[in-house]
């Protein structure tokens, strides 16, 4: 099979990234507010509402516990929405990729541009929440700045996973399966709302394989001003998901568009 290898993406991927950035720039403020509104509702609603009923969770107030989970979950959501709905519009509905590939830009460039763009947009979303959290005094030390590269890495991993789904999608409706069957359960199993040790051992074993678990395991200690345990393992896991998922997405999308 020729599909086993791909030409490597080139610097032209940056032109694709810039195209998406230019669209975003036109609606930057509403887009950012949109990225912030949903996680803030969860953070305040659950953090103060539910948190008021709870004793300390994991040694801190519930809202402080929830803060790291919210950062990771909204990073994941922002990357997923961009790689699913927005990328699908550009690929299928608007035929933007087709136009781009008539220029000296390859499908690999387009995909790399989309991956980096979705990761960048997710980084923006995650960072915006991080700033709000800092303003609320929920961040212990400047060590929290190390959450930024983790946010970017989380964005890359979920952007790559999202592109796989986009490569397979016949229409927008298809994305509901991904959200209901993968994203939503993952949010519950990855330590966003409660510590994973609350889960039965078998479920814990599954949760340990989920990319969001690794993101949360890195970001939460960083916000508490601690150095996370097992950094190398978590970073490797996120990098591996990003690389493998991107490779699969490329293979599928080549089959779809270059046949």
């Amino acid at each position: 099979m020729k599909l086993a290898t791909h030409p490597s993406p080139s610097i032209r991927a940056f032109a694709v990234w810039r195209r998406n950035f230019l669209v975003w720039k036109k609606l930057a403020i509403p887009s950012l507010l949109g990225n912030l509104a949903d996680p803030m509702i969860y953070l305040f609603g659950l953090g103060y509402g539910l948190g008021g009923l709870l004793p300390q969770v994991g040694g801190v107030s519930y809202i402080a516990f929830l803060a790291a989970g919210t950062v990771c979950a909204s990073t994941m959501n922002a990357a997923s929405f961009e790689a699913l709905y927005s990328a699908f519009s550009r690929m299928h509905v608007q035929r933007t990729w087709e136009a781009i590939m008539n220029a000296p830009v390859t499908l690999e460039d387009v995909m790399a541009g989309e991956l980096l763009w979705a990761a960048a947009k997710a980084t923006l979303a995650g960072t915006a929440i991080l700033i709000v959290i800092a303003a609320l005094g929920l961040i212990a030390s400047p060590l929290a700045l190390w959450a930024l590269p983790v946010i970017f890495l989380t964005g890359l991993a979920f952007a790559a996973l999202g592109l796989i789904v986009t490569a397979l999608a016949p229409s927008y409706d298809f994305f509901m399966y991904y959200f209901t069957l993968f994203i939503s359960p993952m949010v519950l199993l990855s330590g966003v709302f409660f510590p994973t040790d609350q889960l039965p051992p078998l479920v814990q074993a599954v949760a340990a394989w989920l990319p969001l678990t690794h993101a949360v395991a890195l970001v939460r200690p960083l916000l508490f001003g601690e150095i996370p345990a097992g950094i190398a393992g978590h970073v490797t896991a996120l990098l591996a998901v990003a690389a493998i998922a991107f490779w699969i997405a490329l293979t599928l999308i080549r089959r779809r568009l270059l046949k």
Partner: protein, 303 residues
């Protein structure tokens, strides 16, 4: 060097051969047409030429570069007007040109000075800030043509450039394509409009079932493949008349519905005979490319 050389091109999908050994060669500065019914393999051929799909076999040399091996390098010197509009709906007309130029590695400072000229050429002067959604079908087509010129290409590939446009818009596109040819551009165009091919193309290939069935200049094809005159005979009685009488006066007769097409070298005897049939209406005209096309590809519907 030919701007585009295609030899023995083959491409199958699910065991069905869409392009079946097609070969042609463009001459610098000409407008060459690929003419064929729906499903003849025109768009697949263009996709192969651009390196967007890998042929099963055959050789393609596009502006001196082997395709698909060096398709990216080749596309640097190509402009494409696709069959379906894919302008960026989030951008203005000017932004569409700038963003597209970036895909060729052009700097904004290189593209900006060209925008006015390109929009002028497309008959869109002053529309720099126009929203794409506010443009008519014809305007979008012309902007797509302008976009294809942003890199000053040697060769333009146009896939059914006037499908879906009204006559005014079509004439404007034709006029612009002729201007581009005067400027020295080579044009490859696919179409199923005979008048378009006859007007624009110096040479054309009629393809059907992925094969070339004829190639040449429009007038030469008409001279070579078909009788000089056509008498169309209409009316309820036309089919029965054609069955009994037409053969005696015509070299070839085709009946489609209530119309008989009589192909003749000299129409006078037939017209004299038809004067005795007041129930039949007639139209006498010189043979055209459509007659050749229908003779070579048949009259059955292709959907």
């Amino acid at each position: 060097m030919s701007p585009l050389l295609v030899a023995a091109l083959r491409k199958s999908y699910d065991g069905r051969e869409v392009v079946a050994g097609l070969g042609f060669e463009l001459r610098r500065g000409e407008c060459y047409g690929l003419l064929g019914p729906n499903g003849a393999g025109k768009t697949t051929t263009l996709r192969c030429c651009l390196g967007l799909t890998t042929p099963d076999s055959g050789d393609i040399t596009l502006v001196g570069e082997p395709v698909p091996a060096r398709a990216r390098e080749a596309r640097m010197k190509i402009g494409v007007v696709p069959q379906f509009d894919n302008l960026d709906p989030d951008f203005t007309a000017a932004e569409n040109l700038i963003v597209y130029g970036r895909y060729f590695g052009m700097k904004d400072a290189e593209i900006r000075p060209k925008i006015g000229e390109l929009l002028d050429f497309a008959g869109l002067a002053g529309k720099e800030d126009a929203n794409i959604r506010s443009l008519s079908g014809g305007m979008k087509r012309r902007l797509t043509l302008a976009r294809a010129l942003v890199n000053d290409p040697e060769l333009l590939l146009l896939d059914e450039p006037t499908t879906g446009l009204d006559p005014q818009a079509r004439h404007l596109i034709w006029e612009r394509l002729k201007r581009l040819q005067v400027q020295g551009k080579t044009i490859l165009l696919t179409t199923h409009f005979m008048d378009e091919a006859e007007r624009l193309c110096q040479r054309l290939a009629i393809i059907d079932g992925g094969r070339m069935v004829a190639e040449g200049a429009p007038r030469a094809l008409i001279g070579e493949h078909i009788e000089a005159q056509v008498v169309e005979v209409y009316g309820e009685d036309a089919p029965s008349w054609a069955a009994r009488e037409a053969q005696a006066f015509s070299r070839r007769v085709e009946v489609s519905g209530e119309t008989a097409f009589c192909y003749v070298a000299d129409a006078a005897p037939l017209l004299a005979h038809l004067a005795a049939w007041p129930g039949l209406r007639t139209l006498h005209r010189p043979a055209n490319l459509e007659d050749v096309f229908l003779k070579l590809t048949g009259r059955e519907l292709r959907d």
